[in-house]
């Protein structure tokens, strides 16, 4: 069986919040995972404590909590990240970008 690193949705209606979990690929989304290695808040947060000039140019941010060492371990033992998690892990600098097959051809 494949172990995957994927997102499990928490939060309420219109307020998504995800746990980044390591789980068996065939298990249900909301079932108890093998391990929770982080969280992902997809709702953009406004940065706080800025001056007026900074506030104009500042970007909103998405907050991610991640245990890097656990993520590395699970990748090392062959866990497969889902697409969304792959993107996040790539941004965190843990893996190469996923090669998307060009569907236009």
């Amino acid at each position: 069986m494949v172990v995957r690193i994927r997102l499990a949705r928490f939060g309420n209606k219109h307020q998504p919040f995800y746990n980044i979990v390591v789980a068996q690929a065939r298990s249900a989304r909301d079932s108890k995972p093998i391990e929770v290695i982080g969280t992902f808040n997809p709702i953009p947060q406004r940065p706080t404590g800025l001056s007026d000039e900074q506030a104009i140019t500042a970007r909103s941010y998405k907050d991610i909590a991640l245990d890097r060492s656990r993520a590395k371990y699970w990748l090392g033992v062959g866990a497969q990240p889902s697409d969304g998690v792959w993107r996040l892990l790539h941004m965190a600098g843990l893996i190469e970008a996923k090669k998307v097959p060009n569907k236009m051809k």
């Binding site: 309420n12 746990n19 391990e35 929770v36 706080t48 970007r59 991610i64 909590a65 941004m91 965190a92």
Partner: protein
């Protein structure tokens, strides 16, 4: 006329003009309202029977026109309470109306902190204003300036009126201002129960020992206590500046810090040092005392800054900011730790990241509080 106002910065005219104009108005309203309590004014122009007014209503309006009339309008700079003292509530002896900061004092505090770059701690001691209040004043004046710059409408006449009604602490240059007590010691939960703690007569039992007794920590050996006694200032300084760790007692859930003496728990421990210096060498070398005080204050604020910087640095060290080219957003990766220690034996520990499994969420339940508990600045 203008001299009656306490607060020097407020333009004095509101008292003169508004009271005069309101007086002329007042005479109008007075005549109309005095009609009300008259025995039986006709309720409708065509009605022959008068409108009934109860005895209670009559007495109320009589009171409002008699004794209560003076409460209707305030005299600038004077308190206008039912009791003719600084207590707005006749039955509550334990509450009194305390002075607020006057405009002048508020602006002076802002000036000191922002323009003259003085430390919040120093300004707090100088004006006898709580440090939290100093911070709040800076925030509020900053917001006010911004609103003025943006040309937003302010409530100036209202502010003037309020400052005329409530007591204010004026700012007089050169005067020693004491707005409030700045060295408040919060009463700790551990000191609630009375405890019986026998001590041999030969031993000195000071505030350090009392704190240990309250938190059920074993007494310190004589060697350490005598060292502490020789250098009380240094001992306290180490604790308050975070140089020596605070001892803890108890295990796991019951673990708690040993209660510290009041010397370390008040907001301005450096004032004790200053007073001790004054007691010992103040008569002979007052200059030296002042010099030491300044040095200590500088050290204190330096230490405060250092702490702030360290928190900031730690935050920067543990977060990675990524700005992808094809996204409007920034992604911030915080480092967290997933281990046996954080998840706990049940896997439900609060230190570990993520929402919990196996714990019901009552967010749809009736009566459950859905009000946010925090709003970030």
């Amino acid at each position: 006329m203008a001299q009656r106002i306490q607060n020097s910065l407020l333009p004095s005219l509101s008292s003169s003009t508004s009271t005069t104009s309101s007086l002329s108005r007042f005479s109008n309203t007075c005549t109309s309202s005095s009609l009300l309590p008259l025995p039986q004014p006709a309720s409708r122009s065509f009605s022959t029977s008068g409108c009934r007014q109860t005895r209670l209503r009559r007495t109320m309006f009589n009171w409002l026109e008699g004794k209560g009339a003076e409460l209707k309008h305030h005299v600038p700079g004077e308190l206008n309470y039912l009791t003719h003292t600084n207590k707005p509530f006749p039955l509550n002896e334990q509450y009194r109306s305390e002075p607020i900061l006057s405009e002048a004092l508020r602006n002076e505090i802002y000036d000191r902190v922002i323009r003259k770059k003085q430390s919040v701690r120093g300004v707090s001691v100088e004006f006898g204003v709580d440090m939290r209040r100093v911070g709040a004043v800076v925030r509020l004046v900053e917001l006010e300036n911004r609103m003025r710059d943006q040309g937003k409408s302010l409530a100036l006449p209202y502010a003037r009126a309020v400052h005329e009604m409530v007591p204010t602490t004026p700012y007089v240059e050169g005067d020693r201002i004491r707005h409030e007590s700045i060295n408040d010691l919060p009463v700790h939960r551990l000191t609630d129960p009375q405890i019986f703690y026998p001590v041999s007569e030969s031993r000195e039992f000071n505030r350090f020992d009392a704190g240990r007794a309250f938190s059920a920590a074993p007494a310190l050996p004589h060697k350490i206590t005598s060292e502490m006694k020789e250098q009380p200032d240094e001992t306290i300084r180490k604790i308050t500046q975070g140089l020596s760790p605070i001892e803890t007692v108890g295990k796991r859930e019951d673990e708690q810090q040993v209660l510290l003496p009041a010397d370390a728990r008040i907001p301005h421990p450096h004032m004790i040092v200053n007073d001790r210096n004054r007691l010992t060498i103040g008569k002979t070398e007052p200059k030296e005392v002042r010099q030491r005080y300044r040095e200590r204050l500088a050290q204190e604020s330096e230490r405060d800054q250092y702490r702030k910087d360290r928190i900031q640095q730690h935050l920067e060290r543990t977060t990675q900011k990524v700005e992808p080219e094809n996204s409007r957003f920034e992604f911030r990766f915080r480092d967290v730790v997933v281990s046996r220690e954080t998840t706990g034996p049940t896997g439900r520990g609060h230190l570990a990241p993520g929402r919990r499994y196996g714990i019901p969420s009552y967010d749809r339940k009736k009566g459950e509080v859905k009000i946010p508990t925090r709003v970030d600045v």
